[in-house]
């Protein structure tokens, strides 16, 4: 097991180097630099004179060709330094730390909600399999699964924010947030969270409940379930204790695979709801050609994807003693 993990980590490190190299090359070849994009757009009169640009280029290492700059970036990375954002004049790590909270607020609550709802849904679907209510429910869930989240987000905004004016249109806090009491602040954020969390949750709901149902149907056909039924275990107990415990294995591996999306957030949804999270930071950084921030975020997403896959494989071995890596 240990050698397996070490080998996977080594391969992962190589993969990371490759990914960051490719992305570094790509973003350095995008037209425009952080200096020209940012200053020129704001105010033409504030355009820097050539001497200043040269000076700043040197300061941020933009005067070097990109492969050389990449080596410098990796060198800094070994000292755990992600560099400073060019457009925001802040360390990238601090920027990420600022944005990670709001993103996790959405993704963790939607993940918890997804599991809380999809397990009973999936189990009900197994029990009622083939009956009219189950088929209606499954079809409805499948349609939800195919419903694009950005369309749902817009429809929710039109209905609940513009028409009914029940919920705030976007953002994480109201304008008068600072003056609110503690309870008022929580309530305010809760109201702002409702629509984004709905959009994050509904698609996953269909996916997870179908996943649970598919696995359950496989398990329910096993001999030990028939044995349990034959010896007179109540149907409820058969489903919950005998069958469901065995579908837990694939469910656990799914958690590993959702790791990147928990922290990565969704660029489009955060953009629609102007939620101050990681996805939005990423989107803004690309627009501003803020190389260090893009690289920092890319590195984080890639590490999470790789770690998620590794975690899934390890968890698989932990929960299922039949699986071993040796």
């Amino acid at each position: 097991m240990l050698t397996y993990i070490v080998r996977r980590l080594l391969i992962g490190a190589m993969t990371l180097l490759l990914i960051t190299f490719v992305i570094f090359g790509l973003i350095r070849n995008m037209p425009g630099t952080p200096l020209t994009v940012q200053m020129g757009e704001l105010d033409p009169s504030r355009k820097l004179n050539p001497a200043d640009i040269e000076r700043m280029k040197k300061a941020y290492g933009l005067d070097r060709p990109w492969p050389q700059a990449y080596v410098v970036w990796v060198g800094q990375l070994t000292k755990l330094d992600l560099g400073r954002s060019i457009s925001r004049k802040q360390p990238v790590t601090r920027l990420i730390a600022e944005r990670i909270g709001p993103t996790m607020l959405l993704s963790v609550s939607s993940l918890v909600l997804t599991y809380l709802l999809s397990i009973p849904l999936g189990l009900t679907a197994t029990v009622r399999s083939g009956k009219l209510d189950e088929r209606t429910m499954s079809t409805a869930l499948y349609m939800l699964y195919s419903f694009p989240s950005f369309v749902a987000a817009l429809l929710l905004q039109v209905f609940f924010a513009v028409r009914l004016e029940w919920l705030p249109l976007f953002g994480m806090t109201s304008d008068n947030y600072a003056s609110l009491s503690m309870a008022g602040k929580t309530w305010d954020i809760f109201l702002h969270m409702l629509m984004p969390v709905t959009c994050y949750t509904y698609g996953g709901l269909a996916y997870y409940s179908r996943f649970i149902r598919a696995n359950m149907q496989e398990v329910v056909r096993q001999d030990y379930i028939r044995t349990a039924r034959a010896k007179g275990v109540s149907p409820k107990r058969v489903i919950l204790v005998h069958a469901f415990r065995n579908t837990f294995i694939p469910l656990v591996t799914l958690i590993g695979l959702t790791l990147p999306s928990i922290l990565g957030g969704s660029v489009i949804l955060e953009q629609i709801f102007t939620w101050p999270g990681m996805g939005r930071l990423f989107f803004e950084a690309i627009g501003e050609r803020d190389y260090p921030t893009i690289m920092g975020l890319t590195l984080m997403f890639s590490i999470l994807t790789l770690a998620g896959q590794l975690l899934a494989d390890i968890l698989y071995a932990v929960v299922d003693p039949r699986v071993s890596y040796s």
């Binding site: 088929r135 699964y145 694009p148 950005f150 924010a161 893009i294």
Partner: protein, 374 residues
Amino acid sequence: MTLTTPNNPLEEAHEQLMNEPQKSRGFWAEAWRQFRKRKLAMVALYYVGFLVLVAIFAPAIAGTKPVVVKYKGNYYFPAMGYFRTSWENPIFYKDRFRKIYPENLKEKDPDSWAIWPLVYQDPYRRVRDGEWPGQPGNPTGAKGAPNRYNIFGTTQYGVDVFAQMVHGTTVALLVGFVSMGIAGAIGITIGALAGYFSGWVDMLLSRLIEVVMCIPTLVLILALIAILEKPTIWHMMAIIGCTSWTGIARLARAEFLKLRESDFVIAAQAIGVGRLRIMYRYILPNAMAPILVPITFGIASAILIESGLSFLGFGAPPPNPSWGTLLNAGRTNLNLWWLIVFPGMAIFLAVLAYNLIGEGLQEATDPRLRGAGR
């Protein structure tokens, strides 16, 4: 293989009746038979067929250029100009039609006649007052709610939404087919090479698949789009295709790894069939069914990616009608609900249809799942 199971009396009797061995259905015929049993999947297939028809006949459904016109003794097809500007006969430029056909035709050649599209609306510009006898000009802004002449309403600038959606169907369908064609070609080639040769080729190619898989797709797409100064819809398709082949490659690799060991491949190798021929004539047809499933789901996600990118404003340049671009217009003004509801539903239905087809295909070609769905 013949259907001779001796322990089944019914079949035995049948066999005697027929008096000759019956040929069993081929793999694809059987898959099609299974697929046809699934009502939802069939409905989805019909819907995609319907979309294809809409895309092909878009200029005849909504447009301001006549489908067929007899003008000064010759027949012309100005509506073809919607597919490609140069297909609109230059005579109409020379005669200064300025894209307004009805009155110009009457004025410049009283004997002319024309067959008009079903709906006189243009996806690129606003129809003005009196352009078409008895039809008022398109309303703009908040007044553009769906009405008799604009069944899906108009945009902020008075361009008809229905016409844009009809013409945007082409984009949505092309994005799906072209990008997945590219992704399929790359994925199958890489997966086939990795699976068939294994060893160090597999090592290298598997790493490549892993690297591309771990690169956040959106970074890759946004970076590639930014590098292109003027992305067209074709660039978008190529980019989506080049970033979404990993799932196909992994499946193809697994299938090739499995089939490589099968008897018919070993037999083919023994009689000296070339490697390429074995890969593409022997293994690929047998591996195609499982590979088609991620391709179908891929079409759905390609449509989602394209509309998502257009929605974020990274899509094809604005004059191109696209469902995502309409949504983007709706986002900037949430009061115009018809800019969100209709294109949103179009995207949803297209994605749903492809997902249903993909699932039907999965169940139809995988014997283990037969009888699972209805």
